[in-house]
Each structure stands twice: as C-alpha cells, then as structure tokens.
Amino acid sequence: MLAYVLIRLGGSVIVVAVVSLIVFSLTVISGGDPALIFAGDIASAADVEAIRLRMGLDQPFFKRFFGWAFTVLHGNLGTSLFTSTPVSSLIRQRLEPTATLTVATIVTSIVVAVPIGIMAALRPDSWLDQLVVASCSVAFAVPGFIVGYVLIYLFSLKLGLLPVQGYAPLSSGLGNTLRTLVLPTATLSLVYVALLARTTRAGMIDVLAQDFIRTARAKGAGTVRIMFRHALRNTANAILTVVGLGIASLLGGVVIVETVFGLPGLGRLTVDAVMNRDYPVIQALILLAASLKIVVNLVIDLLYAVVDRRIEV
C-alpha cells in the first residue's frame, strides 16, 4: 500500500511542478516586470531592486523559476496589479462562496446522478432509459449561463421563491447560505449530473451482465441486495474516475455561474482580473485550481485501492 501511495504522490508532485513551470512561463511571456509585481506599487525603487536581486531576475530562466517557486511555496502568491493587495489575501476573502458552491455541487450531483443512473440501467431501452440518455446529451450542450438565466427567470422572477443574485455567507446561518446556493448549484450540477448519470448507467449495465450477478441471484438475493452489495461496489471505480475528471470542468463552470448569480467568489475574482489585466491573480488561480484537481485525483486514486482490492498494492 505504501509503495502505491508514494508512487502516486511522486507523480502528482511532478505534475504540479510542470504546472508551475507553465504558469511561470506565462508570466515571462506576459511581459510584466515580476519584481514590480511582487513589490507592489508602494515599494520604493530600492525595494524593487532588492527584490529583483533576491528573485534573481538577472539569472537564467530556470534559476528564476526556482526562485519564484521558492517564493510561492512560502505563501507569497504575488501582488495584485490592480488592487495592490497580496493575492493570497484576495483569495482568502473570496474563498468561501466558491468552496461552499463546489462542495454543494459535488454532493448534489452524486446524490442525484447515481440513483438516476441505476434506475436507467435496471430498465435498459425503456422510455425512462432513453429519456435519461437524451437528457444527458442535451445537458452537455446547453451553456451554463443560459441555464442560469432560465432558472433565475423561472424561480426568482416568476415564482419569487429564491433570491435572484447574491450570496449569504455561512456566518449568517446555514439556511440563508443554502437559499442563495440553490440555483447556482442547480446550474453547475446540470453538466456534472449528466456526466455522472451516464457513467453510472453504463457501468451498471456492464456489471449487471457479469457472471457473479447471476451467482448472487442463484443464491436467492433480491434486487436491493444485488444492487448494494454487488453491483455498486463494482461500479464505484468508474464513478470515482468521472468525479475526478469532472473537477476541471467544474472549476471552469464556477467562473460562469458566479458571474451569472453575482456570487463574490473566486470565479468573479477571475472575471475581474480579466477585466483589469491583473495577471498575478490569474496565475495564482491557475496554480490553485490545478493543485486542487491534482489533490482530488490523488485522493480518488487512493480510494480506488480501497474499493477494488484487485489493485495489488
């Protein structure tokens, strides 16, 4: 088990390193003066020079890269060009809405998609099954912002059930937060649910055709027992994979959804940074997003080994 974990960890570290290299290269290409960026507006010329020396900007590319990496690992993600505040504090301020939205979306998606996928798999080619398959295809095609606006129109404007925009922080009570998260989560989950439902369905259909399911039936097992003790355990693998794959697109969708619903999170931060050409912010966000995805995939890899004992560790 230990060897398996170490190998996956090592692989992840390498990927993070390459991501940072890419991000750093983008910095260089973007042409901004990194020393100035890190020093901020209020630094004096001497300070900037000192930082330049410290960062080794007169050094060849890779030395600069390591210098930059070192700085980042110490928690300094640079300074926003627009607001002159450290990027890390900007991120910290905007973290909560995005975090709650993401968690809510993942949980909702799994809870909604897996039963749908199971029901469709149990009745292949029925009208329910065909409806599920068709709905999934459509869900992939409709852009997130359209879904968002339609939902707002229906639920906020016409029915007046939910707030149009805005976010109530957790400090104001979980209920309030959830109310403001309902529509954004629904919008963001649409694609995720479609992805997960389709995978669950396909995986289930595969598993249900296997011999050991027949063995279980020959023992007198009913549908419920077969589902939970036999079928799901063998589909969990495929479902986990898709959860990991979907994280990247989820993070992309967060940007759109936060814009539509006016949530003051990292997605909106991205949009603001684009408007203001605030490069350090974008870089930091890329690093963050990539690291998150890598961590999630690492966790999923570990879960694989737990669920499927055939993986020789």
Partner: protein, 351 residues
C-alpha cells in the same frame, strides 16, 4: 473384454450397484421437469423442446450433449435464471410439488440457494471480485436463515473443510483473485451447499478446470451426496465424467432428450443412433485408439441442425445412417425399450 465397458471399470460398477442397493429407495423425485419448452421471445425458435427428466434424492443424473444442444439453457430454466430473450413457453418444473414455471419472483427467491442450488461453468467469473470470499459464502445463510455472524462463519469454515480447502480460516478473508480456479470452484460449491439444498444443478462444473482437479471436484460431489442424500443434476459434454460418477444419463440433442437410461444400460446397450455414435467416438480401449476407416478417428459427419431449420421431425435425420422417410415425416415417439430406458427414435420401434 472388448466394448464400452472400458469406460467403466468392472469393479467400479459393482461398487455403485452395491451402494445403490444399500440406499433406501425414495418415494418420488425431488425435481421433476415435464415437457419443458424454451423459446426465443417473439419467435417460433425453440432451443429446448419438450424436455422431461427427473432428479431423485441421492442420485446423480447426467445430462449429456454437445455444445449448443440446449443443456445449459435447460439448467438455467429450472432456476428461472434465463437470460432475455429466452422464455419458458411451456411445461412444468416441479420442485417438491411446487411448479417453478408458474412461481412468482418472491417465491423463487425463497427457493434459490435454499431448496435448489446451481453451480456454473466458469469459476473464474462466478465470484464478485471486490468482496471477500467468506462474505460471499455466508450470503445464502444471511439471506435464508437468521443465524448470527459467528454461526454463519462457523458454518462457512465447516463447508470449506467439507470441500477440501486447506487452511480455511485464511481463505475466508481472501479475495477471489487470490485463489486458483480449482479452489474457486470448491468455494462456489461450498457456498451453494450452505443451506443444504435438496437438489444441486451443476452446469459443466469441471470443464474449465484441469483433469486432476476435475477428479477431485467430482469426488466432492459424490461425498456430499453420500452424506446428505441430495439430488445432483450434472450437465456435461464429457462422457468420461458421466461414466465416472453418474447414476442415470439423459442424452440431449438439438434441444430434445433423445435417450434416458441408467448409465450401465446406456453404455452396454445404447439404442439411439446419436448415443451410439457418441460412444463410438469416445471409446478408448485399453489398447491403441480404435481404427475406423482410413485410419482416422471416428466422428459424426455433418453438424447440428440450426434452430431455424428444425421442425416436427427428427433433428438427427441429416447425420443418421439409419434414417428413413418416417424420420423426416414426424417427431419420433418416446418408447421404453427396456425398463427405465427411454428412447426417441423411429428405428427403435422396428421389431
């Protein structure tokens, strides 16, 4: 002594005869299949046509036939585990009086694994790969009894010992991929016997295994039977297996049972042309392989008549060297050529 008795050692036969005499005769068969017809749904194709057989307690009935004759489907049908689009189009499957062909899914679930059990052909895929073997073995007990965890674990260990699995405690926590094919099949057998079923249907249980393991598995079947008086229906294409363990044989061809008899009778005096041809092919006398024409191995020319071509006539007609107009005109009637020896062939009707 020449002849098919080379398949069955003389001593062996007399041992079994003695054992049969010693066993009390049961009053009725525990499983009685009558006129079972299976069809592909929404078509007129019947891969299994008008099949009847009985399984008596303490007895091994072998159903023999080549690939595609419908024997596996017959086995699956008795447990109502037919894969769609195969359906039961007629007949009865009586287990201790209850007709399983008419039973509801709830009733069937009570019977499966408890009164009736089945072992499948491929031990490599019969077990759930992500669940420990012990859990799977205890599952029939968990479903059908209210025994505690400790009790089911004890029973599982006992069963593993009965089927000859060494170091049973360790095996209980193992996963299927950690066991060899022969070991897995023993586990499956033990698993299916957990609730002491009255009848066990074994569909080609040794086909996927080495010959040495095969002998061991067959030995396990005999031992279990001797101990519990269970009825065993053994589906196979291997005449050697039949000769070794079966008490009675039903020969199946193209979806119909063409000959049923006690194994000694069928080997000594096969009456259906197909059975005769099979035995000719299977014979290996104590000496070298018998030489037929041109020094080649004996074979049955042609191939099995496809489903769509079958009809109300003998399906063996295109390969039979004694076929005549009657065989093409109508399905042969069943005839009891000797006590306990039933044949479906027009040629046998001839005086």
């Amino acid at each position: 002594m020449p002849g098919p008795s080379a398949l069955v050692g003389e001593r062996h036969v007399s041992c079994r005869q003695q054992a049969a005499l010693a066993r009390p005769m049961a009053a009725a068969p525990v499983l009685s299949v009558r006129n079972l017809t299976l069809a592909i749904d929404r078509t007129l194709l019947t891969p299994v046509d008008d099949v009847s057989f009985d399984a008596w307690p303490g007895e091994i009935l072998a159903i023999v036939g080549e690939s595609g004759c419908g024997k596996s489907l017959t086995a699956l049908a008795t447990m109502r585990l037919l894969p769609p689009p195969i359906v039961i189009r007629g007949g009865a499957i009586r287990l201790d009086g209850t007709d399983l062909a008419q039973a509801s899914e709830a009733e069937l679930r009570r019977i499966r694994g408890r009164s009736m059990a089945m072992i499948f052909q491929d031990p490599m895929t019969a077990l759930n790969p992500v669940v420990p073997v012990g859990v799977q073995m205890r599952e029939p007990l968990a479903i059908h009894t209210s025994l505690s965890r400790r009790q089911t674990r004890a029973r599982a260990l006992e069963l593993l010992r009965q089927v000859g699995v060494p170091d049973p405690e360790r095996r209980l926590d193992a996963y299927p991929h950690q066991l060899s094919g022969g070991m897995r099949q023993r586990v499956v057998i033990a698993m299916m016997l957990a609730c002491n079923p009255k009848v066990l249907i074994a569909d080609e249980p040794t086909t996927a295994l080495d010959v040495t393991v095969q002998a061991q598995i067959l030995g396990i079947f005999r031992d279990i039977q001797r101990a519990t008086g269970m009825a065993l229906v053994l589906i196979t294409h291997d005449l050697g297996v039949v000769a070794q363990v079966a008490d009675r044989v039903a020969v199946m061809y193209a979806g119909r049972i063409v000959e049923t008899a006690r194994v000694q009778d069928i080997i000594a005096r096969p009456r259906h042309p197909y059975t005769q041809a099979l035995l000719r092919c299977a014979r290996t006398d104590a000496g070298p392989v018998p030489r037929a024409r041109h020094g080649m191995l004996p074979e049955i020319g042609g191939s099995v008549m496809p489903l769509a071509a079958r009809g109300a006539f003998c399906a063996f007609v295109d390969r039979c060297d004694r076929a005549d107009a009657r065989c093409q005109a109508a399905l042969p009637a069943r005839l009891e050529a000797a006590p306990g020896h039933v044949v479906e062939c027009w040629d046998v009707h001839r005086p």
